[in-house]
Symmetry: D2
Subunit: 143 residues, 4 copies
C-alpha cells in the first residue's frame, strides 16, 4: 500500500473514533505500521490519588496502537495488551504515544507503544504498552 | 482490618476518583481484596468501528482493580496489567467488572478482573484483565 | 466429552511429551479444562544465583496449561502467556502446578496456572501464570 | 560501567548458570543492557506434538533477558514476563534470542527479546518476549 493510502486508512478510522476525539486526542503521525498520538491530561482524567487514571493512559496507547495496526487496510482489532505503568502523569501534562509494529504473522500482529511526557531533561517515559492485534473480516469474526 | 474498614478504604478512594465518577461508574460492592464496578456504554465511548473503545473497557476493569487492591488500607498503585478482549461491547450495554485478589507478596499483589454483560443466555464475558499492584508510602515511591 | 475421554486426551498428549517426561514431570490430575502437574527441582535446573531458572518454572506451568487446554480433544497450542515470579524455588523443592480454565471463546482460551511448593505453614505460591490457547486444525495453522 | 565490565558481569553470571549451560546455550554477545544467546533444539525439548516445548523457548529468551538485565552489575531477577509464540520450532533448529533494554526506572526494568531461526528467506521470528526485571540487594528481597 502506498504511504498515502496507509495514511488515509489510519486517518479515516481516527476521524470516526468518537472516543479518542472527545478526549482531545490528536493523531500526529500515521505511517505503515506506525502512529503517534497526543493528549493533554484534564481534570476529568484524574483518579482518587489526583494522578491520571491508568485507564486513560491505556486508552491513549490503545488509540495509537489501533491506528498503527489498521494502517495496512483490513479491519484489525485489539485482541489484548500488556501495559507497565512507569511514572505518574499529572493534570496538564501533554502525553505522546508512539506506536510501532514489531511483527505480523498470519492474521496477528504485535505493536509496541511508548507513552512519554516532556521533562526538563528530555522525554520521561510514562508507560510501556504492547498490543496484540487480530485482522478480521467483520466484527463478528473478531475471535 | 474489619470488613467495615475495608469497605471504607475502597469507598473513600472511589468517592475521590473523578475519572470513574465522571463516566458514571458505580461501585457496587467492595470487600477485602474484592470489588465490583458497573458502567453503561455511552456514545462518547465508541471507537471508529462503532464498538466500545478498548481503553474504556480497560478503565472499568482498572477501577475495580484499584478498589480491590486499596481495600487493605495503604496506598496501592497499578504497576501494570494484562488484558484480553473477548467480545465487543456496544452502545447501551451495561458492563460489570468483578475484581478478586489472587495473591499478595511483599508489596506486590495480583488481581483478576472479569468484565461481563448480561446476555439472553446469561452473562457474556467481554474481557479478562489481570492487574499487578504495588503498595507505596507516597506517590513518588511508586516504582 | 466424558470425564474418561477428557482424561485420555490430556493423558495421551502428556505420554508423548518427551520434554516434560525427561524432566520427571508427573501428571497428577487431568479433567475437563483442568490439570495438575508436579516436578522436583534438580541441579540441572539452577541458574547463576543457585535458584531455579525461571524457564523451568514456566515450563512446568506450561505443561499443566497444555494438558488443560487439550483436554477438550482438538489440537490446541499455546498462543502466549504471562507469568509473575513470586518466590524463588530451590534445589529439591517439589513444585505443583494447578491449571484451570477461565474462559473459552471461538478458537481461543484463557487458562490460569498457580505454581506452589509446600511450606511449613501451608502452600507457598511460587508463580502465577496465565496462558492463552488457540485451537488449530493442524500445526501449520497455528497462527 | 565500562563495556569490558559489563561484559564480565553478564558473562560471569552466565558461566555459573548450570541450567542454560546444560542445554548447550551459548552467550554470543553481552553488552550494556543487551545480550544474544543461541541454542539448538534437541529431542529432549520436544512436546507431544513433536514441536519444541514452549517452556524451552521461554527459557532461551529468559536467559538472554537475564544476561541483559544483570549487565549493569547489581543482582537483578525476573519479576515476570509476557511471551507470544509466533512459529513452531523443530528438532535441529538453531534459535537465537536477542535481548535489548527498553527502559529502566527505580529498581525496575523492561527488556524485549526476539527469538528467531534462520530460514531460506532470512530470519523467521519464533517468539516475542518482554521481561520485567527487579534489582535486589539479595535473593530474599526479590519481592
Amino acid at each position: 500500500m502506498s504511504q498515502a493510502g496507509t495514511r488515509n486508512a489510519a486517518r479515516d478510522m481516527f476521524e470516526a473514533d468518537v472516543a479518542s476525539r472527545s478526549l482531545g486526542i490528536e493523531l500526529v503521525e500515521a505511517g505503515a505500521g506506525t502512529a503517534t498520538a497526543r493528549m493533554r491530561v484534564t481534570e476529568a482524567m484524574l483518579n482518587g490519588y489526583q494522578i491520571m487514571h491508568g485507564g486513560y493512559l491505556f486508552l491513549l496507547a490503545d488509540t495509537a496502537f489501533g491506528c498503527a495496526c489498521n494502517s495496512h487496510g483490513p479491519m484489525t482489532v485489539a485482541a489484548g495488551a500488556e501495559v507497565s505503568f512507569i511514572a505518574a502523569a499529572h493534570l496538564g501534562d501533554e502525553l505522546t504515544a508512539v506506536a510501532s509494529e514489531r511483527t505480523r504473522y498470519g492474521r496477528n500482529g504485535i505493536y509496541d507503544v511508548t507513552v512519554y511526557r516532556d521533562g526538563p531533561g528530555g522525554p520521561v517515559t510514562v508507560a510501556e504498552f504492547r498490543g496484540r492485534s487480530r485482522t478480521v473480516e467483520r466484527e463478528s469474526e473478531a475471535t
